[in-house]
Symmetry: C2
Subunit: 318 residues, 2 copies
């Protein structure tokens, strides 16, 4: 029996919320061999889901990132018209509805009424902790945050964030399921805003914007330092491994040598307010020198092609 | 006439300071076709330089990152025994001596005495602004910081940081030279500590360490969010381009939607002090679970192999 069969007992999974994130998840589960039921409260979104999933799979296949025929994979995915049908007989629900506490709470209450005794629910939310919408229900021990990176079928990190009521068995199930479908699991042990990934991105962005605001560098030059500099090593080594290798004696040596400098740099600003209007306008104008508004869409397509090529190359790193 | 011949008039360049960084620069200049004279005040370092350069070129050749026979390239590099011989008849000096203000100032004074009227000097310093060691000399308008990423023959970003006395012609020369030898130029317009790249790394590291200290995630899981998450897009897109593509309306749209969140995240800490001893010990211990001290060296070799593979793949991205 495969790991997935052990975990699910052969049952399908449900996608609730079939926008970009939900459709991306459907790709992840279906290509791993699972049957997938897709539901959205908006029938127009539901109607677009399978064509979207199919086109994503075609792209993956073209880059050698799935071996099966896309049609075979898509055949595992079906759409349903009600939440009850979606949840009926499934092992797991991946929730990717609107980022609103009231919407998520409403859904949890519905799932609480519909769920069998061992249904597990993962929420894709990036910004709303489980404590804000998932407590105090019979279902609560079986709910946690399962937060992907966009798009989940290309970029493997998933952050698992339990609420105080999430059980250890739920966390263990989600960990095993995510690994079985090919994702990389990160355990976020406290419900901090932004979890881990978005916190790292946030602080880097705050510094990047401040450097532009101060006239230290242009947006494009800041971007170069990452895409032709920092991003190279961070594409296969995290920040701790990077510095562990960057001083003769390892990370403690590095920390002794450079800790003071990094403290001064990080402490050299107070972020008094969110990015304000003249600055946003300046950054927008600088970006438009390189990419017109009309070209955003095609640039996203270019980005996804590059990500797929990166993923394919990653499979055979040396 | 090639761009390099126009810039140098066929003259060589000099490497002053022949440790890892200087030797890395020698590879960059020699593979671009320049003759290179290498000098170090420590004859033991000088003696190791050409073997080091040769071994780096062999690795690059193996990965298809240089087409010429390494022996042909190495033949352009010679070592000399005095600073005067190093500087004689060269167009440009790349300085990579100790990161100490007194050492760099002493060298600038010597170069001031030896230099012809159009010699240009680039300093590899990562932490000492030109204002600290390069002002008030006849040479000063022709000195600037030319700060590489390690290793410069793999990772192309170079930060150019003029002092208040650096002339525009010097800056233009350095920009053209760096591009002619295949580097990516970033203009740092103010002498801020850490320039751009190390400031971005610094703030990300401060947040990463704080998350570990607070028990939000392990070092390894923080690393995963970067190497299997953020690092994927940052390997070919900078942070501004990334967010420009991540909201429907582009970067201004993104800033309106997420600016408040990022402000709260960045402002959620005060960095009161450098990383202290219990925390450094904890991070060291967590890293040692994954990599023993004895394996640091071989892991660096693995890293350099991966970087070369990345660089080779980068040449043919789709």
């Amino acid at each position: 029996m495969t790991e997935i069969e052990k975990l699910t007992g052969g049952r399908p999974v449900a996608i609730v919320g079939a926008g970009l994130v939900g459709a991306g998840w459907a790709v992840v589960y279906a290509r791993a061999g699972l049957r997938v039921k897709v539901f959205d409260t908006n029938p127009e979104i539901t109607a677009k889901a399978i064509p979207l999933i199919r086109s994503q799979l075609v792209g993956l296949h073209r880059h050698g990132l799935v071996q099966e025929d896309p049609a075979t994979i898509v055949a595992r995915v079906s759409t349903v018209d009600t939440l009850a049908e979606a949840v009926e007989g499934v092992a797991y629900v991946q929730e990717s509805v609107l980022e609103r506490v009231d919407v998520k709470r409403g859904l949890m209450e519905q799932l609480d009424a519909l769920a069998g005794p061992d249904l597990i629910v993962g929420s894709s939310t990036s910004g709303i902790p489980g404590s804000a919408f998932a407590l105090g229900l019979g279902l609560s021990p079986r709910v946690l945050i399962v937060h992907p990176v966009n798009p989940p079928y290309l970029v493997p990190v998933v952050e698992l964030v339990p609420s105080p009521e999430t059980s250890q068995q739920t966390l263990a199930f989600a960990d095993r399921l995510m690994q079985a479908v090919g994702q990389t699991v990160v355990h976020v042990r406290k419900e901090v805003e932004g979890f881990v990934l978005n916190r790292l991105q946030a602080v880097l962005l705050r510094e990047a914007w401040a450097l532009v605001e101060e006239g230290v560098a242009s947006c494009e030059d800041v971007d170069k330092t990452v895409r032709d500099g920092l991003g190279w090593r961070w594409s296969f080594m995290g920040p701790f491994e990077t510095i562990d290798l960057n001083a003769p004696g390892g990370v403690a040596d590095y920390a002794q040598r450079l800790g003071g400098l990094y403290q001064r740099i990080a402490d050299s600003r107070r972020h008094e307010q969110p990015w304000g209007q003249p600055l946003i306008g300046q950054v927008e104008a600088e970006r438009r020198e390189y990419l017109s508004q009309a070209d955003l869409e095609s640039r996203r397509a270019w980005r996804d092609e590059r990500l797929m090529a990166f993923a394919a190359a990653r499979k055979h790193p040396i």
